[in-house]
């Protein structure tokens, strides 16, 4: 099933079967874990569905917003949202939204990603309880 997409006068065909299954699985994982699915949805749409990045940047955000809104309200009605913790986390995140881009200008994005790769690998192995990890 291909979906015809028009974007700024150009035409694209998006494979919606892959989009639906991929989006669903990413949404389950991200709402189970409690994080936004951005870093997964963007590669899903660009690499697997073959859409150019300029089509994806805004549209992926819209798709993720559906997931975040639904999962947040589900957690809230399950009584699992600590409002104080939420406020503390939100203040930190909003402040980071102002400071982050300013620092980002002075750093090489490739090196930031390399550092992040190492850090996230370490954290992942630690969560998996791999032995010999301090």
């Amino acid at each position: 099933m291909k979906l015809r997409i028009e974007f700024w006068g150009q035409e694209f065909y998006a494979n919606m079967i892959i989009g639906a299954i991929g989006g669903f699985l990413i949404a389950v994982a991200s709402s189970l874990g409690g994080f936004g699915g951005g870093p997964f949805v963007v590669p899903l749409m660009t690499v697997i569905m073959g859409l150019p990045i300029y089509v994806v940047v805004g549209s992926s955000l819209l798709a993720i917003f559906f997931n975040t809104l639904m999962a947040s309200s589900r957690y809230f009605f399950f009584g699992q949202t600590d409002l104080l913790l939420f406020v503390v986390m939100a203040v930190g995140a909003i402040a980071a939204g102002f400071v982050g881009p300013r620092i980002a200008k002075r750093l090489s994005p490739v090196w930031v990603k390399r550092v992040a790769t190492i850090g996230i690998t370490y954290l992942g192995l630690k969560l998996l309880n791999v032995p010999f990890i301090p």
Binding site: L3, W8, M16, G19, A20, G23, F24, I26, A27, L32, G33, G34, F35, G36, G38, P39, V41, P52, I53, Y54, V55, L61, L62, A63, I64, F65, N67, T68, L69, M70, S72, R74, Y75, F76, F78, Q80, T81, D82, L83, L84, L85, F86, V88, M89, A90, G92, A93, A95, V99, G100, L107, V110, A116, T117, G119, T121, G124, L125, L127, L128
Partner: protein
Amino acid sequence: MRYKFKLNLWSFLLFFFLLVFSKNLLAQPQGNATKPEAEAPPLKIELKADKTSFKGGEKIKLTGKVPEGYKVNFIEITSKEKVQVSRLDRKDFKFYLSKEIPAFYQIWINEEYIAKIDKNGTVEEKPVKEIYQKYKQNKKWKIGEFLRESNANVAFITPPKEIKQIDVWKSTVLRAIIGSRGIKLDPLTDKKEISREAARLIQTRLKDFEKIFVLTKIKNNPDGTFEAEITLPGNAPKGEFNVLAVANKEVKSDPIQLTHQISFPTVYFPVAGTSTNIFGPLILSFAICTFGVIMGAGGGFILNPLLILIYGLPHGVVAGSVMPTVLFSQAAGIYNYSKIGFINWKLGIGVGIFMLIGGFIGPLLNQFVTVDEYKFIFGIILLILAALLFWQTTPGYLEKNKKERAILQEYLKRAKEAKEKKSS
């Protein structure tokens, strides 16, 4: 003749006397045996603390008097703050949930206590120290088994008394797929069942064996007085705590109240059930999210596991509190992109509907998994993310990305210009 009569009279009186009082004489030993139960005020331990309010880590001295022949073996500490705890029993797929689980619970055990286990009539004795060591090393320990084996169940008093309702669902895979907890059954009513399940929910919440059970020295003096020292951690909830001293099933003290005082910057997170310095999570959130913004992926990936590893918060609360924080930045982003016509609504809503369904199921699965399973799933997600990030630093990707980014910038520029033309 007369004498004989007299004798008979005496013997008659004696007989009569025996008849009247025999009941008492015979009943006496029986009455003694049942006395402690039958008589209204049973033996009580007197319990006193050297302070009424305390701070985290502060030593609290408990003193008091025990009835003759008994020793204080257990001290039970229960917070009056309640949290919601749920768990899925993997044996029968029943889902239990209670909103009345104490946010903090401990039983302190006298290290010299010798536990008695009744095994088919023969009583076996075992020092509680040995049992404690055995359970400490067992990662798959079960609270019910330990309570029985160590006799600490005689001190498991307050939770079954305070917990009035435990809801039960019968879960099936099919029901979970449509996002339901399962078929709702009647809540637990039987006192024994509530007590058993309450213990399991407490284990689910506090998890670590050594966080719930503590071996300590309780000094029982020959004159019947006793002394013990307890300390509660700084992350214990604020407010009142119930403290009970217990000798055995019948002999215990009345509860005394202690208040945990916290002052800013330490705050109590009511749903998470933990007190902590507010600047800790704030700085953590700021640092991680800044890093997240720089690398172009949100902060939740790193923030959630760290909140669990550092602060030991329940995974459901972490997910439920961090997830909504990105709502605003996402909404702002959507607004900004839509202003310059940079959102394809067909694509966004098309994929978004399936993500909506996924977002309906995920939080339910979060309730069904244990902390260890959550960590496992999260670990795998992080490794996939790391692989994605690594791929994004390879030369081939960078070259392609450079071209695409240039096109993106060009389009963004044109979109902005078009918008300015329209508005002017």
